[in-house]
């Protein structure tokens, strides 16, 4: 039921609109002479990647990971630590980052996925906290204070990423790639097994499929994607800190996914953008923006089932 032509074309149309907006934004910002909005949108896109990765396991696999920010942090630290040792080139740092995050996801996922429901939420939280405390204790790499990167990742010796616009489009490219990969995963047989396991594990077992391996692979894919987001985040800020992995951040990632709409990859992107814009706008009004955001969140949960994506014209109703 996820693949009715009507929904597919609506999702396609939505994706087209969203990515066109992202692509056109630097031009618009140039015209207005506003550079802040470009930096801000880079941040939005980075978190959108992380949200898409979480949406993959949360929305389609019903794995409520409360430690997803750990991958953001592990990815960011991989890049920054390599840079600290003078290794800047993407041909090294990207594979290393993905491998480290993939391995971390494989090991923690293999253990976590043995548990169900709230135990899964808690054990992923525990692994997130472990990563957090590891980062705070890395005194050689800044410990609590974080680590400054003196530059950005290089591409075959070129420092092109130092240019704001180039970096912007690289991040956009990554987001597009992650979105497409996630779409493919969801639409594949693999993705259908994942969604089947969400609906009824028993039925799936009855037809001879053990969902454990499928969940684990999805968990690893999501971890690597979030790691990529982390690597981009480190580059965007030219700084990494343990705060990237705090459990509040993991909570915020879940908020982004649910705000946008569970079970919609585009929703994750919309959710990440709305969350960050809301945070930015509210904190403009008052430093106590959480006083407004907290109750807003409660109201969204109580009354706004289906997320923002279902509010769009022709959007799907929650089923």
């Amino acid at each position: 039921m996820h693949f009715t032509p009507a929904r597919l074309s609506r999702e396609l149309l939505g994706a087209l609109v969203v990515f066109t907006l992202f692509a056109g934004l630097p031009v618009l910002a140039d015209l207005m002479g506003d550079t802040f909005i470009v930096f801000f949108t880079i941040r939005v896109m980075v978190f959108a990647i992380a949200a898409v990765s979480l949406s993959l396991i949360l929305g389609y696999g019903a794995m409520v990971s409360f430690g997803h920010a750990a991958y953001l942090g592990v990815g960011a630290y991989s890049v920054a630590i390599l840079a600290e040792h003078g290794i800047w080139d993407v041909t090294v740092s990207l594979p290393v980052t993905l491998a480290v995050c993939g391995l971390f996801a494989l090991v923690t996922g293999a253990i976590s996925l043995k548990t169900r429901g709230v135990y899964f939420i808690m054990i992923t939280l525990a692994f997130g906290q472990m990563a957090y405390y590891t980062a705070t204790s890395l005194s050689a790499y800044g410990g609590d204070d974080g680590l400054t990167m003196w530059g950005r990742t290089e591409i075959l010796g070129s420092t092109a990423l130092g240019d704001r616009t180039v970096f912007y489009y690289v991040v956009l490219g990554c987001l597009l790639a992650c979105y497409l990969i996630a779409r493919m995963v969801v639409a594949s047989r693999f993705g259908r097994v994942l969604q089947g396991a969400k609906q009824s594990e028993m039925r799936l077992r009855a037809i001879g499929i053990d969902p454990y391996a499928y969940r684990l692979v999805a968990y690893v894919i999501a971890g690597m994607m979030a790691g990529l987001a982390g690597a981009l985040l480190a580059n965007a800020a030219e700084f990494v800190s343990p705060a990237y992995m705090s459990w509040h951040r993991s909570g915020e990632l879940i908020v982004m996914v649910v705000l946008g709409g569970l079970g919609s990859l585009l929703g994750a992107i919309v959710g990440a953008a709305s969350f960050l814009v809301l945070e930015e706008v509210l904190s403009h009004f008052t430093q106590h923006w959480r006083l407004i955001f907290g109750p807003f969140l409660v109201l969204v949960v109580l009354f706004g089932r289906g997320g923002l994506i279902s509010l769009l014209p022709g959007g799907r109703k929650n089923d």
Binding site: A126, T134, A140, I254, R290, F293, L297, L302
Partner: protein
Amino acid sequence: MSATLFAVQTLNGLQLGILLFLIAAGLTLVFGVMDFINLAHGVQYMLGAYLAVAGYGITGTFWGALLIALVGALVVGLLLEVLIFRHLYDRDHLDQVLATFGVILFLNEAVKVVWGAAPLTLPMPDLLSGSVEIMDGLLYPVYRIGLIVTGLAVAVLLYVLVSKTRAGMLVRAGATNAPMVSALGVDIRRLFMLVFGFGTMLAGFAGILAAPILVVEPGMGDNLLILAFVVIVIGGIGSIRGAFLAALIVGLVDTLGRGFATDIAKLLLSPSAANDVGPAIASMLIYILMAGVLFFRPTGLFPVRGG
């Protein structure tokens, strides 16, 4: 690693364990009976401490502060239950996590607005200030001993309440099979509210007890909340006995780990490496413990709910 230091650290560990138990008891009951994951339980602990500071401002005595804060924590807890949480019992865990996360954001910020971001303190009651000599050359504050004794008393009281009274029987039955209890004609909503109010009061009580020895600041409940979750997951959700044992284990492991991890690491590593690794291992110990427990017993040490 002298015997005195070990004794002090053990007492400190017990004390953390007791505080954790007071928070975890409410959490595990609410979770066990209502299948409701309440992240906002930690801010109840914080509110208890803040209300105690405010109560001290009004009455000028610790005991007045205690009374006001207990009542205040109960009222806030019940208010939240009626306004928000009651509508979430039928929802899935994800919705519960989100909504209570929103409540955390709000209350942490509200506390900042009302009392400011700077840390506050609550004076100890005169009756319990001072120290006693427990062993040769070891002075330990009376208040901290009082805290441990109070906690143990509450644990005994809870044990009696849950295992010997009719209300406790209903709570246990509710944790095992809520729909069946409801079908037998018990007003499950009222039972929920009772358990919830009691749980938030215990968390508030922990906050009041902690206020004189820790600083009172916004977000003080967040870390303890995570620890309390570790406790109830290790103990087995819904089990008071599990929560009690796990709280003491977590309190001791965490405190002793922080006290001695660096020394132990020095036995195996070079001193500078040990200084790096020790604190990291110490802060991770309880999470490693939890992951280990869940790996071998996916529903904790004392699982309540069947299946």
